[in-house]
Amino acid sequence: MFNSFELKNFGPIHHLKSENLGHINLIIGGNGTGKTILLKALYSAIRTLEDYRRGNEPRNASEILAEKLYWTFETEKIGDLVSKGADEPLFFKLNFDGREFCYGFGKDTTKIIQTLENHVPPRSSNSIFLPTKEVLSLYHIILESRELSKTFGFDDTYLDLARALRQPLKGGKNYQRFAASRKNLNEILDGKVEYDEKAGRWQFKKGNQKFPIGVTAEGIKKISILDTLLGNRYLDPDSVIFIDEPESALHPAAISKFLDIIAMLAECGIQFFMASHSYFVIKKLFLIAQQKSNLSIPIISAEDDHWVTENLREGLPDNSIIDESIQLYKEEVELALQ
């Protein structure tokens, strides 16, 4: 798992160093602070480590990373990722299972990363990024636009997810904890999403009834994706899952259940990084941190131009999401007692 990371001059993030990461890590901050960029930076790095030396992969880590950054951030040249006006180059470092991986490049870099150091051994596990938009109804469009047309539009987080979903479901004995999580996921779903090979499309199956994916609720599709990745064994206990806005398309009650399942999976070994704006996400994770003594939940928050890492186990830190709920409450008091 990620033990720590450090970013310097990475897009809007001038400096962020976070240590003592947990199995669930929450990232919060206002719009434009760089939450999604942080998730994508971590994702690009771990996917580089996972592709490196896998099978007959001929590329070195530097080549894999450059391509991953290009297709994940969809910039004309990767040097565009360096903070505007920064005097120094972009720098990224992570510690994974006690081993370091770091790289750096300047603003004129097009595709060759000069500085890269890797001490992390090759990984057989897969990590995944769940973006805010669901992919099931866009499945063919994503694959076509990236694999045939090779055009920008759906970045690598979408392509990798569509490819991961393409793997068929596997029977047999599932990881026991995954089986319990899938059972809970199915309770929320009240059905399951399946790929119809004949028709060549995804559909939602409830009992004996089948519904086109286009008329299936967004929240159902979102939860189904996680269920499918657990069912086809794309994910294993050493995977890392990045979720951008887990709250999107989910009712607060479903957010709560979804996060309970995430806590179960985290206890099983999977590491999560989530970026959120939601009052319900932060509150629920705070409660999980209080209830589960074995789960440390760091909260990495952007305030103005600096980042702070605290732990939800120690309490709910001051943050703009809770502040806004208090502000709304105060406005209501003003209205009532004016």
Binding site: L287, L316, I322, S325, I326, L328, Y329, E332, V333, L335, A336, L337
Partner: protein, 173 residues
């Protein structure tokens, strides 16, 4: 002339202009019915006479943690009962349904009950600010039948901590 300060739950409310405060919990009217198990809030405060607003004040030293069930539900149930009873008793007294109704301060006697706006205000000593929004939401939900049946303003139920009660002029010292 002002009333004596009212000390409840470790907080000192007032003093307020004499004819604007009715310490209903200590009133003769309430003392007569208290033995029948009627629970009520502490006092009434008339905040404005042009557009009459009556705040019904209940004070508490703290709240049980929302995770501590059923104590938290019991707490909410008790506050709901006190506010509902106080609203009814206040109106019944203004309507002179009790022989002790003369104890009402003059401004209250002259209230146009059709026009008066009520607020049900819970003041909790030392309550963390970030717990207040959820507590207010919970209490608003519990008192919804009262708010709806009496045709009160939809934001009639308010929860304050001591600091906010000072800001709102309830606690003066």
């Amino acid at each position: 002339m002002t009333t004596e300060p009212i000390v409840e739950s470790g907080m000192t409310f007032g003093p307020y202009p004499e004819r604007c405060c009715f310490y209903i919990e200590k009133s003769k009217t309430y003392q007569k019915i208290k033995k029948d198990g009627v629970k009520i809030a502490e006092f009434l405060l008339l905040r404005s006479q042009d557009e009459p607003k009556v705040w019904i004040i209940e004070a508490k030293t703290g709240t049980p943690h929302p995770g501590n069930q059923p104590t938290f539900n019991d707490f909410i149930g008790e506050i709901r009962e006190k506010f509902a009873n106080t609203l009814i008793l206040s109106i019944a007294t203004c309507l002179k349904r009790h022989p002790t109704c003369e104890e009402l301060p003059n401004f209250f006697k002259r209230l146009d009950l059709k026009e008066v706006s009520f607020r049900l205000v819970l003041v909790i000593k030392g309550h963390p600010e970030d717990w207040l929004p959820q507590l207010q939401d919970t209490l608003q939900k519990a008192l919804k039948p009262t708010v709806k049946t009496w045709g009160l303003h939809s934001s009639s139920v308010v929860v304050l901590n001591e600091a906010m009660a000072k800001e709102k002029g309830l606690i003066l010292m």
